[in-house]
Amino acid sequence: MYIKTIDGKSINTKLTYNKKGLTVYSFWATWCVPCINELDDIHKEIEKWDDANVKIVAISTDDSRTKRRVRPMVNGKKWNFEILLDENQALKRALNINAIPHTIVTKGTRIIYRRIGYKPGEENHLYEFILKNSTVKN
């Protein structure tokens, strides 16, 4: 399955996962306040996530109404996650995601964690889950 990079190029979703550890896929949108809260909260302590050898991929489900806001917002917030665009929600649909925020953790291509919604503090539970399941350490 193909998805767009932030530059509008097509990329195979198989190439997006972390070959050396776990990958967190966060489905978000520029208009989704809890989604932004989650990514902001992760970003605020990004060093510890980087140390855990986890790759964070933020998949924007913004459609053409708000898609153009993604790049300025990501840069305005200094997020350094990999950003992908699921403009007509093909990947979201393929993964049976009904609502966002929706967070998925994969080990290789295997899904080991899924969660709908975000409440403050849940990023810490996610971080603990990552530490527990991360076999490859730096």
Binding site: D7, R69, R71, K78, H125
Partner: protein, 552 residues
């Protein structure tokens, strides 16, 4: 009654026997249910429709049968009837969509219902949005072919879905996209796209216009490490205008669209600018569907280009894009819209005076949308527009947002919005509304499981129904359980009986991918908008609940 049981039986069947059997490999499914029990209300009136209990149910099943072959089926059930203000075409239980897909290397062929978008969607977008009752998937053939990851071709043909029915006539389309980045010999990206969509309407035919309406579009997209710019142009062939609900035999015009977007960004700063002009651009698979309340039979996607708000009072006077020709009276003539939007995002660094320990996020948005300027001849039903002329204003907005984390436990969002909404011209009624809105959101994290969120909102205006206030309090008492209470109050409504509290309280339980919600309260009537598409909903009071889950 039997139909209801059939649906639950089907649900049980799919999730117990087949799921665990080896017949279908990799079966996954998702299930979503929204139900409501509507009540009489001493303030807003009795419930005057049929069926107090209403329920929308969606079961989606996906499987890869053998290598390279995928299968998808969606069953929907509206029993005894669909939720208030969903299209009457959503009724009973049935197969809503199905698809068989063949995938091999660079080839992808789908047979059945598919979702597709060309460019930004101005000539074609089919998608599903359950909250708005939109599923305009096309049933037919969709084929995609890629060459060296540099060239993409897409073709499609089929009938468009409306409820459980399909349009008379067909949609045909072709899209191509070329990655020409190599020409530039640096790290920037350069993409070129050309698309075509044809709409053949067999339902409304006449000797005065062609059965087929053709739309052509071309787009280029450039981006480098700090700058991007893209432009899309559309031409739509002559098609009849719908005046007072009937398709005209004499008022026949072409349509067009121009979309320009550009932005600049570097670490901590993002700037975006958009210009769009639409003239006679709406397109339905059946001409008669023009202006329908349920957003059925939409072929292309023309959302309002304004900030998409997440708070109730900022969504009171929402602008919906005005792509259509509308001749209501000598003083109310429209041919489309022209306008701009700009966004600025700025991050104030940590450990600075304004940034504090955690930094501060600033966001500014401004937009202005006007009617097309030109000469309108109401009595002879004709118009000539100026290419870059701004006519009477529909809507303008400026907003400032500050997000600030003060400590590991406490953060704020402060939002100020200044809006102008020309209700007379947009909704074709009366009045103009100038308003100022303040929102303050406070989140207090008690520990990793418990948090409190308080939302305070105020809208002040001398127009329409005057001032509103709103608040919301949310208590997350564990990682799974959340409770809330919200209220929306038009405390200055000039009509005493309409000073009503639109209160709601409820809770949710979510664990992993399962989520259950329950809500009791009063819903405000009016336009409910998601993703730039709006739907009119009547006022209602009642108990509602929802289930969202997936199975693997």
């Amino acid at each position: 009654m039997n139909k209801k049981y059939t649906f639950y039986l089907m649900l049980f069947f799919f999730n117990s026997s087949i799921l665990h059997s080896q017949i279908l490999k990799n079966l996954t499914s998702s299930y979503e249910s929204y139900s409501a029990y509507y009540l009489d209300d001493s303030k807003t009136g009795d419930f005057t429709y049929e069926d107090r209990f209403r329920s929308n149910n969606y079961l989606n099943l996906k499987s890869s049968i053998v290598n390279n072959w995928n299968f998808e089926l969606q069953i929907e059930s509206y029993l005894p009837t669909a939720l208030l203000n969903y299209s009457p075409n959503f009724k009973d239980t049935g197969i809503s969509t199905f698809k068989i897909q063949y995938n091999k290397k660079d080839l992808n062929i789908s047979l059945g219902n598919f979702y597709e978008q060309f460019g930004s969607g101005m000539i074609l977008r089919s998608w599903e949005d359950r909250s708005l009752g939109i599923n305009n998937s096309i049933r037919g053939l969709n084929a995609k072919y890629r060459i060296n990851d540099k060239i993409n071709f897409t073709t499609l043909i089929g009938n468009q879905k409306k409820g459980f029915k399909y349009s008379k006539g067909y949609i045909v389309g072709f899209d191509s996209e070329f990655d020409l980045s190599k020409i530039l010999k640096n790290n920037s990206t350069f993409l070129l796209g050309i698309s075509y969509v044809g709409r053949n309407d067999q339902k409304t035919k006449s000797d005065f216009y062609d059965e087929m309406t053709n739309l052509y579009s071309a787009r280029i997209d450039y981006s480098s490490s700090y700058f991007y710019s893209n432009i899309e142009l559309v031409n739509k062939s002559k098609n009849p205008i719908v005046i007072f609900g009937s398709v005209s035999d004499t008022f026949i015009k072409e349509g067009s669209a121009i979309l320009f977007n550009s932005g600049f960004f570097k670490d901590g700063l993002g700037l975006d600018f958009t210009f769009r002009r639409l003239e006679n651009m709406s397109l339905f698979s059946e001409k008669e569907a023009y202006g329908n309340l349920y957003n059925e039979s939409i072929v292309n996607y023309l959302p309002a280009i304004t900030k998409q708000h997440d708070y109730s009072l900022t969504n009171l006077y929402v602008y919906a894009a005005q792509p259509n020709v509308s001749f209501q009276s000598n003083s109310l003539t429209k041919a489309g819209e022209i306008g701009i939007q700009t966004d600025l995002y700025y991050f104030i660094e940590q450990e600075t005076f304004l940034g504090g320990k955690y930094g501060t996020n600033l966001a500014i948005n401004a937009s202005i949308w006007n009617n097309l300027d030109g000469t309108y001849d109401f009595s002879n039903q004709n118009y000539e527009t100026d290419l870059f002329g701004f006519g009477e204003k529909y809507f303008s907005e400026i907003s400032f947002e500050i997000r600030k984390k003060w400590s590991p436990k406490f953060d704020n969002i402060l939002l100020y919005v200044n809006q102008y909404y020309n209700k007379r011209l947009v909704e074709e009624t009366t009045s103009e509304v100038k308003s100022n809105i303040f929102v303050l959101e406070n989140t207090y994290k008690i520990n990793d499981n418990k948090s409190l969120r308080l939302e305070l909102q105020h809208l002040s205006t001398k127009d329409d129904t005057k001032n509103w206030s709103a608040f919301g309090l949310e208590y997350n008492l564990s990682s799974a359980v959340s409770l809330y209470v919200t209220d929306l109050y038009n405390y200055q409504n000039p009509v005493k009986e309409k000073k009503i509290h639109y209160y709601n309280f409820g809770g949710s339980y979510s664990k992993g991918i399962n989520r259950y919600t329950v809500n009791y309260g009063r819903q405000r009537g009016g336009l409910v908008c998601t993703g730039g598409i709006c739907r009119y909903v009547p006022e209602s009071t009642g108990l509602s609940f929802s289930i969202t889950t997936s199975f693997f």
